[in-house]
């Protein structure tokens, strides 16, 4: 439980002239659940997208499970095999059935025989409680169901770390709960998770640490209890007062 599985040090990123991430340092231990929050445009998405190299960066270093990812993005493939990601807009493949969505990467990236891949996929679909929808197309499902499929799809690759970028913000309120429940289950099984979300209930219940970002910097990081009870920074207080009204 002690060695960091994700280690970000001195990370800096610019979009053209715009300094979007500034000197980010963050260590995530194995099994740790981190919730990242902050105002819109503060760079939360950009930060977690750097971890699986969906974004390139100019300075600093990210180490995932001992694999170094520098500005030249050399070990992209190795890192992506360790890291699963769930997007705000699900990004399921609409032309494939739910089952095919979940077997595609195991078959084509890990060269697992189709039969085994399907068995594994069904196991994870059962875990997110939609095994009987396996032959539907994503467009025929509700948003909450789609997001749970997306979680199952990421899990079929046996990632060591899961990244969530606002997984519930595109959902109707009653669907938010089913997705959050799935994520809570996952957390209880000991998955290392980095979650960008504004669901403060989830943060209280599940997170080991809450990280607050503003203007491309981490300005506060604390246990959920302390974070919500005694925020240090004025910016954090303002944010919390707006979000917890």
């Amino acid at each position: 439980m002690s060695d960091p599985i994700v280690k970000i040090s001195g990370l800096n990123k610019w979009y053209g002239e715009f300094h979007v991430l500034r000197d980010i340092d963050l260590e995530v231990k194995k099994g740790e659940r981190i919730v990242i929050c902050g105002p819109s445009g503060s760079g939360k998405s950009t930060l977690i997208r750097c971890i699986n190299a969906l974004e390139e960066f100019q300075e600093g270093e990210i180490v995932v499970d001992g694999i170094e990812l520098g500005p030249n993005l050399k070990h992209v493939d190795a890192v992506r095999r360790e890291v699963g990601m769930v997007f705000q807009s699900f990004n399921l493949f609409p032309h494939l059935t739910v089952l095919d969505n979940c077997t595609l990467a195991p078959i084509w990236v890990r060269n697992i025989p189709k039969r085994d891949a399907e068995a594994t996929a069904m196991k994870f679909l059962e875990r997110v409680k939609i095994p009987h929808q396996a032959n539907k197309f994503p467009g025929q499902m509700s948003g909450g169901q789609q997001q749970r499929v997306a979680i199952a799809r990421a899990l079929t690759m046996n990632p060591k770390v899961m990244l969530f970028d606002e997984p519930t913000s595109a959902l109707d309120p009653e669907m938010v709960k089913e997705v959050l429940d799935t994520m809570v289950d996952l957390a209880e099984e000991g998955m290392t998770m980095l979650v960008v979300t504004h669901e403060m209930g989830f943060a209280r219940e599940v997170a080991n640490r809450v990280v607050f970002m503003d203007a491309g910097q981490i300005i506060e990081a604390n246990t959920p209890n302390e974070f919500f009870a005694a925020p240090q920074h004025a910016r954090t207080k303002l944010f919390l007062s707006q979000i917890l009204r």
Partner: protein, 506 residues
């Protein structure tokens, strides 16, 4: 309890069906609800009916009522002999049908054309029906094996070697062109102002050419040795088969998993051997029918099918190239697409036919039909590239990001996620280009290839059949043929679109 059941709110027996008070079905209903339900619709209905009246009635009159159905020469289709204003002269089409289908293809050899068309139908039809099995084998046969077989069937001729000889020949040609360029530079350096530079570059090029010559020497030596044996084709075939099977075995995963790859490559070679033997390719094959004898529907089909099958991969490659992040590839793709789109097809065909031979090295000739084919394939490819690009642009970035996050490489993301979706979006546009390609094949008649329309025009000059209605009959016939093919493509594309977009219907 029984009180409740017997209460008058519960119906004892089912009511008989009753017709609607105002008729909404059948012809009357259709008229009431669709055709005459508003002043605008009444006007449109009347206009439509008039339009039909003025087009359908004369056509039917010309094609059927006033048509002449039998006769031996033009005299049957003349007003004097028929006694009324003659419409279509069908005996003329009947007499000219072989020419319209085969052109000047020798009569004794026409079975080869028929066999090719039959093979095409047998391979293509099952490919088009989604329910039938073995799609990849079927596709392999149609797209890889059939073109080769069709070439040797239609054109004739045999082979003198196999894979090894061809590879050696190709490498030698490549090497000779390098050596030639080096020597040209050296001879240029004798007169030029920048002589030393040219001399250095020329020497380097010659050196490179010589090095390659030595590198491929074992291959060329083996080729010459094989050609010296009594059975060059089969010796070469055996060596090529052994090498390819070995490579397939190793690439397929060696002893552990290579069995399948080995079996399928051995199967392919056995099938190839059977074809070679059946068509006698090792002994010169069928007699050669030069492409300038081909004509009629045969040329139309050869040109359009080749164009359709080759232009799509070209278009996909160009569209992907245009979106590439590598500047050289992107600039090349853009320049290529814009060049071909900016030039009319007629110019392309003229260039390919009359000017290209002037640029090619002396001993290197390309058949006239092949030149036209290449021109049309590249031309249509450029158009298809823009169609495909439209589809690619419609795929949200999240799709390739999700694929990347799952660890799929660029190639796999493109071929498994992006292209399948992009192509589905643009099926109508792709088929639109295919249909227009099919009709544009008639332009090849300006470069001395006699396609369906060309053969038809040639047949007009036959005095035996010259009557006032010959030309109209001929064009009507060609129109019907073109329409059948284009309409077929259009309907099939609708079917495919409907089927592939099943996931979008909720």
């Amino acid at each position: 309890m029984s009180d409740v059941i017997s209460s008058s709110f519960v119906r004892r027996d089912l009511l008989a069906e009753r017709p609607a008070p105002v008729k909404t079905t059948g012809f009357i209903g259709l008229m009431r609800t669709r055709l005459f339900n508003s002043p605008t619709n009444i006007l449109l209905t009347i206009l439509g009916a008039l339009l039909l009246w003025f087009t359908i009635v004369p056509s039917v009159k010309f094609l059927m009522v006033d048509a002449i159905w039998s006769g031996r020469d033009r005299s049957a289709c003349l007003v004097e002999n028929a006694g009324f204003a003659v419409g279509a002269c069908w005996p003329y089409i009947q007499a000219k049908l072989p020419q319209l289908i085969y052109g000047f293809y020798p009569e004794a050899e026409r079975w080869r054309v028929n066999l090719t068309l039959l093979l095409a139908a047998v391979l293509l039809l099952p490919l088009l029906v989604p329910r039938l099995p073995a799609k990849s084998l079927n596709a392999g046969l149609f797209f890889a094996a059939f073109p080769v077989v069709a070439f040797f069937l239609l054109h004739g001729g045999g082979i003198k070697g196999f894979g090894l000889s061809w590879t050696a020949g190709l490498l030698q040609l490549f090497d000779e062109s390098i050596l030639g360029a080096g020597q040209a530079l050296l001879s240029l350096s004798k007169t030029s102002a920048i002589a030393p530079l040219l001399w250095v570059v020329g020497s380097l090029v010659v050196l490179l050419g010589t090095a390659i010559q030595w590198l491929i020497f074992p291959l060329t030596w083996l080729r010459d040795y094989i050609q010296g044996t009594g059975q060059p084709v089969w010796a070469d075939f055996a060596i090529t088969a052994a090498i390819v099977c070995l490579i397939a075995f190793v690439l397929g995963g060696g002893v552990r998993t290579g069995g399948r790859a080995l079996a399928s490559s051995i199967g392919t070679f056995i099938a190839t051997a059977i074809v070679i033997k059946l068509m006698d390719l090792d002994h010169g094959g069928l007699s050669i029918v030069a492409t300038n004898l081909w004509g009629g529907l045969l040329v139309t089909l050869v040109v359009s099918v080749t164009g359709i099958v080759t232009s799509l991969p070209i278009g996909i490659a160009l569209a992907l190239g245009r979106r590439s992040t590598i500047p050289l590839i992107r600039i090349f793709s853009i320049a290529f697409i814009e060049f071909w789109r900016g030039v009319p097809l007629i110019t392309v065909l003229f260039f390919a036919t009359y000017m290209l031979p002037l640029f090619l090295p002396g001993n290197f000739t390309v058949d006239g039909l092949v030149r036209a084919l290449i021109g049309i394939a590249l031309f249509t490819g450029a158009y298809q590239a823009e169609n495909v690009r439209g589809g690619l642009a419609a795929i949200p970035r999240g799709q390739s990001e999700a694929a990347a996050a799952l660890g799929l490489s660029w190639w796999k993301t493109t071929s498994l996620i992006v292209l399948p979706q992009a192509l589905r979006h643009v099926i109508p546009n792709l088929v639109n280009s295919f249909i227009s390609l099919f009709k544009d094949t008639s332009l090849v008649s300006i470069v001395a290839l006699f396609d369906l329309l060309g053969s038809l025009r040639a047949s007009f000059s036959d005095p035996k059949w010259s009557t006032p209605s010959t030309a109209f009959t001929g064009f009507a016939f060609a129109g019907i043929i073109y329409f059948m093919f284009c309409f077929g493509m259009s309907r099939y594309s609708l079917f495919v679109e409907h089927r592939l977009n099943a996931h979008r219907r909720n």
